[in-house]
Amino acid sequence: MTPAFVLRRIGFYVLICAITLFFAVPMLWIASAPFDASPGLGVHWPDWTLENVRKTLDHPYAMHSMVNSLLICVTTAVAVTAFAALASYALSRVRIPGRDALLYGLLLLSSVVTGTAAMVPIFVMMFQLGLIDSRFGVALVMTGGLLPAAIFILKDFVDAVPKSYEESARVFGASTGQILRDVVLPVARPGLATIMVWAFVNSWGNFLVPFLLIRSIDKQPGAVLMQTLTDEGGSVNLQVLPVFSLLFSIPVVVLYLLVNSRYGFRFHGGIKS
């Protein structure tokens, strides 16, 4: 071992430690503050208590907003998966006139029309349709926004499924409906599950759309309620919000780990946008 080598090793570990600390330190607080009897904004070893958890569960809106989030996100995830599955299967297997142009257009749409660029017309449109303050309206807007990317990802997936399964089912005289239900659906299940989780996680974290469209506090999903409570300030800030942040993060992390371990799939690429 030359001195240069030792120095390089030390440099390597210092760099790794510095980067890890950079990522970890802002997060540590969410592990300590929820269980601290005298929570502050800084990280310190907590004086263990479950009082904050009880306060959060008793909060008039906290758990209710989780239900709202669940309602909006399940609707969105199911709609995105169903419509994207139909569209991607047809686009993968049937030569519809203008298909390539359509696909290219979808790909462009998914990155060009972002929530921020379209927030004003979406707000005006929902306002004129009388869909302000409607959780269903929020789910509709999110579904429209996620569909182009979802169709793309699923089409990639369907393209990779060998056509021989469907062919042999057909040779044995299965009807189109039977082929779709009994052959295509089971084979495509991992892809469908992934898209459903992806759509759920994306809408769970979406702040802008519900923030624009929902007014009353009892209809706000978790992402918006956090902002409302932060603006109100006061003791809620330090007793309820840390616990709530933790609870609100759990579904996302669990789903990520689940999909990652089950299908070896990561939310990479444009997949999380």
Binding site: I19, A87, D156, V252
Partner: protein
């Protein structure tokens, strides 16, 4: 974007193995297209129309808006606050995406490539966590981190009473967004680095090339395309990111009001829907240009 290689593959002849037929296939595509049309294409086109009116959230113009031609655009040309928003967005993209996420992401990918699996997985877990947590949660974490009274940053630096988000709002946002988005660049560069032939790296080591020379002459030519497409993509996302609103709401005194936050403040705080639509349209055009270049580069690569 993993899905982005699909158009090339899409040209392979499709065989209608299930006997769906063009008619039913169109029926399958229709519901998705209706939703996309209603909630994505229509709003995008409608910004053009609202942008040439004086439509407002309240008042006379809310009931009967009138056409004002291009005056919203000429207003934008002379609007100091809009120029400010453009400048801050540029700083934000340059600092946190082009420099921050790119360099930190590449460094992580390069350094971790031969690290022990335990080390690698630990570091990756933290960067990924920063990337997947909901945006309101991370914003809340960072507001606490930067807080004037008792925030962790003041504790670490021994600078009690410094109000980081008020004194240095843009620097705070740049650090925040670097932290938030590095995972994407890291993952992209780790897979890109696997395409660099190990034999070339080995021979560079044999002839005694320094680390920097190896990176410049061997690694970089192989991943140049990835660097370009990654930079375009993260710049696009960063320019459209709404999370600065969650940390600073654009304040203090417009000092961190990037274009997305400016659009929100003009439209919903100021009620000027017409003017904010004109600005949204400019953002859409910018997005379109970046995306076209991005897709062209991707196609050439595949």
């Amino acid at each position: 974007m993993t899905s982005a290689t699909a158009p090339a593959r899409g040209r392979a002849p499709a065989r209608d193995v299930a006997g769906l037929g063009v008619g039913r296939a169109l029926g399958f595509v229709a519901p998705a297209m209706l939703l996309i049309g209603a909630f994505l294409i229509f709003p995008a086109l409608w910004t053009i129309y609202i942008g040439i009116t004086n439509y407002r959230l309240t008042g006379v113009e809310a009931v009967s808006p009138s056409m004002v031609g291009l005056s919203n655009y000429t207003k934008a040309l002379n609007d100091a606050l809009f120029h400010n928003a453009l400048w801050l967005t540029l700083l934000f993209v340059l600092g946190s995406a082009i420099i921050g996420q790119n360099i930190l992401g590449f460094t992580l990918a390069w350094v971790l490539r031969r690290a022990r699996p335990v080390v690698r997985r630990t570091v990756e877990a933290f960067t990924l966590l920063a990337w997947i947590l909901p945006s309101t949660v991370v914003a809340y974490l960072w507001v606490a981190f930067y807080d004037r009274d008792g925030g962790t940053l003041n504790g670490i630096l021994g600078t009690p009473g410094t109000a980081w988000l008020i004194d240095y709002p843009m620097a705070c946002l740049v650090v925040f967004n670097t932290w938030r988005g590095t995972a994407f660049s890291m993952m992209l560069y780790s897979s890109a680095l696997q395409a660099v032939p190990p034999s070339q790296l080995e021979s560079a080591r044999m002839v005694g090339a320094s680390g920097w020379q190896t990176l410049r002459d061997i690694v970089f030519p192989h991943i140049r395309g990835h660097v370009l497409t990654n930079t375009l993509l993260i710049s696009l996302w960063t320019a459209n990111d709404f999370s600065p609103f969650l940390l600073t709401k654009g304040g203090p005194n417009h000092e961190s009001e990037t274009v997305p936050v400016y659009i929100y403040n003009v439209a919903l705080q100021g009620g000027e829907l017409g003017y904010s639509s004109a600005i949204s349209f400019l953002l859409l055009i910018a997005n379109l240009l970046v995306s076209l270049v991005y897709l062209r580069l991707l196609r050439r690569r595949s």
